[in-house]
Amino acid sequence: MSFEWIQLAYAALTVFIVINYGLIMTAVVQKIGARVGGRYGIPVWQNYIDLVKNIALRSKISHGVMFYLGPVFRLTGGIGLLLFVPTIYGSVMHQNFAFAGDLILALYFVFFGTLGMALGAGESGHPHAAIGVSRGLAQVTAAELPLALAVFAISLQYQTLSITEIVAAQQGGIFNWTLFTNPIATLAAMFALVGTMMRAPFDVVVAPQEIPIGPPTEYHSAYLALMQTNRVLFPVAKTVIYMNLFFGGASNWAEFAVKVFAIYMVSVLVGVVHPRFRVEQSIRFFLKWGLPVGILAILVV
């Protein structure tokens, strides 16, 4: 495919839309969680105010270069993930930099942010951050295994590594979705989704009652604002991959909004009513349930 400069502007527009969508969606999700507890919940625009507030803080301290680069890496991971995945199928504006092997690159970017964050949080020197990082890396590694296996399964199934082609193969009716053509791979991937969304029962990384919020313990002001941006962007970008791979992609923004919200709600609904696992329990859970399902998915294909 050829590269045109206008694509940069289009990609920036995609990122802008997704960030705004993410800001509002996370607020709505928090509101739903609050309603379960019987509360009214935060206003939907609260995330914007928090973002401005954090940028407006006057004093900042740094713990070194990596401390500064940590959130930047994390955000790069989120934006990178989004940019190499076609957000809207069939749209010239929002297919971003999708290319033939983008599935592999996307898998790489899922990890990239976590690793960058680990370096940055480690530099902050806070023991809670260090414990959180070691927990996070252990759990992400275990949780992403089923996803990797599921991705192998469906790339075997569709004989391609291009997300665009996978989406194309799923068009033409709801029963062409991978959800129905390969339910086992979808199940394996959903394990990974629930496991990496930092929600109960797999939120041991940030567990406030054990290690007050883990890796970001020392982050504040503008650093925190960057991480907040990533916190709303990254889940959406990840959900976009799931949507493309398993749920037939989206052909316009409305479909995008509905599907992403629905997939995201899976992890939220699981999270609201469960306490959290210990880290070795959650790793065991993924190896015991996620891994066999992923292997089964490959075998079935």
Partner: protein, 230 residues
């Protein structure tokens, strides 16, 4: 009430010895290297606080103040018995989240320190550290009569009487203990102060730094930390 013992004199002579783990010593690292450490010098950053100027444009500052007012992140540090009324504040009946008030577990991400009730001398030390670690602009709310003037514990040897001697207080909420409605009203008043740009406690602390430190050190006898700890 018993009469005061006029002949009683507080012991002002005795110095509290430095704790053993804070004395200078040499350490052999696992690889055999010998390192000299002086914990008080090496473990802390010694930089004094700065007075932070307001934004150059008034309209920008006003916008920032608006955002600060509507996003109050409270440090979840229950210093006294008033903390028990903070919990209903987060739950269905009163739900302070509606007003952009949240609880953060780490001082780095909080900008409102609520002193929930009396402060014993031991807690005062921790409260000062927590306050100094928060990013500026930061606000302090004293909760209950005991932060205003000792309240119930006016004759106790271990609780401070006036919080504003030790930390720059923006707002007091009276009562013993104040009801959640009073707390909500207090936070609304604090919002008004912030929007008017009158809540500049952090700058006041930096300007009168020596005065605050002298007060703090007159109460905390074992001052084994640097003057300003980030």
């Amino acid at each position: 009430m018993k009469d005061i013992d006029k002949s009683f004199r507080k012991d002002t002579e005795t110095e509290f010895p430095l704790r053993e783990e804070l004395r200078p010593r040499s350490v052999t690292a696992p690889d055999g290297q010998v390192i000299e450490i002086d914990p008080l010098q090496d473990y802390f950053c010694q930089e004094p606080p700065k007075v932070h100027k307001q934004s150059y444009f008034k309209i920008v500052e006003d916008f920032y103040n608006w955002a600060r007012a509507h996003s109050l992140w409270i440090l979840g540090f229950g210093t006294g018995c008033g903390a028990i009324e903070m919990r209903p504040l987060m739950t269905p009946r009163f739900d302070a989240y509606r007003y952009g008030i949240q609880w953060r577990p780490t001082p780095r991400q909080a900008n409102l320190l609520v002193i929930s009730g009396y402060l014993s001398v031991k807690t005062l030390k921790r409260a000062i550290r927590a306050y100094e670690q928060m990013p500026s602009p930061k606000y302090v709310v004293g909760l209950g009569s005991c932060t205003i003037n000792g309240g119930m514990y006016w004759d106790s040897y271990n609780t401070i009487k006036r919080l504003d001697d030790y930390l720059p207080v923006d707002l007091y909420i009276a009562g013993c203990m104040p009801r959640p409605e009073a707390l909500l009203a207090g936070f609304m008043d604090l919002k008004k102060l912030i929007r008017k740009g009158k809540a500049e406690g952090a700058n006041k602390y930096a300007e009168n730094f020596d005065w605050y430190k002298a007060n703090q050190k007159s109460v905390i006898k074992d001052w084994d930390m640097p003057d300003y700890n980030w």
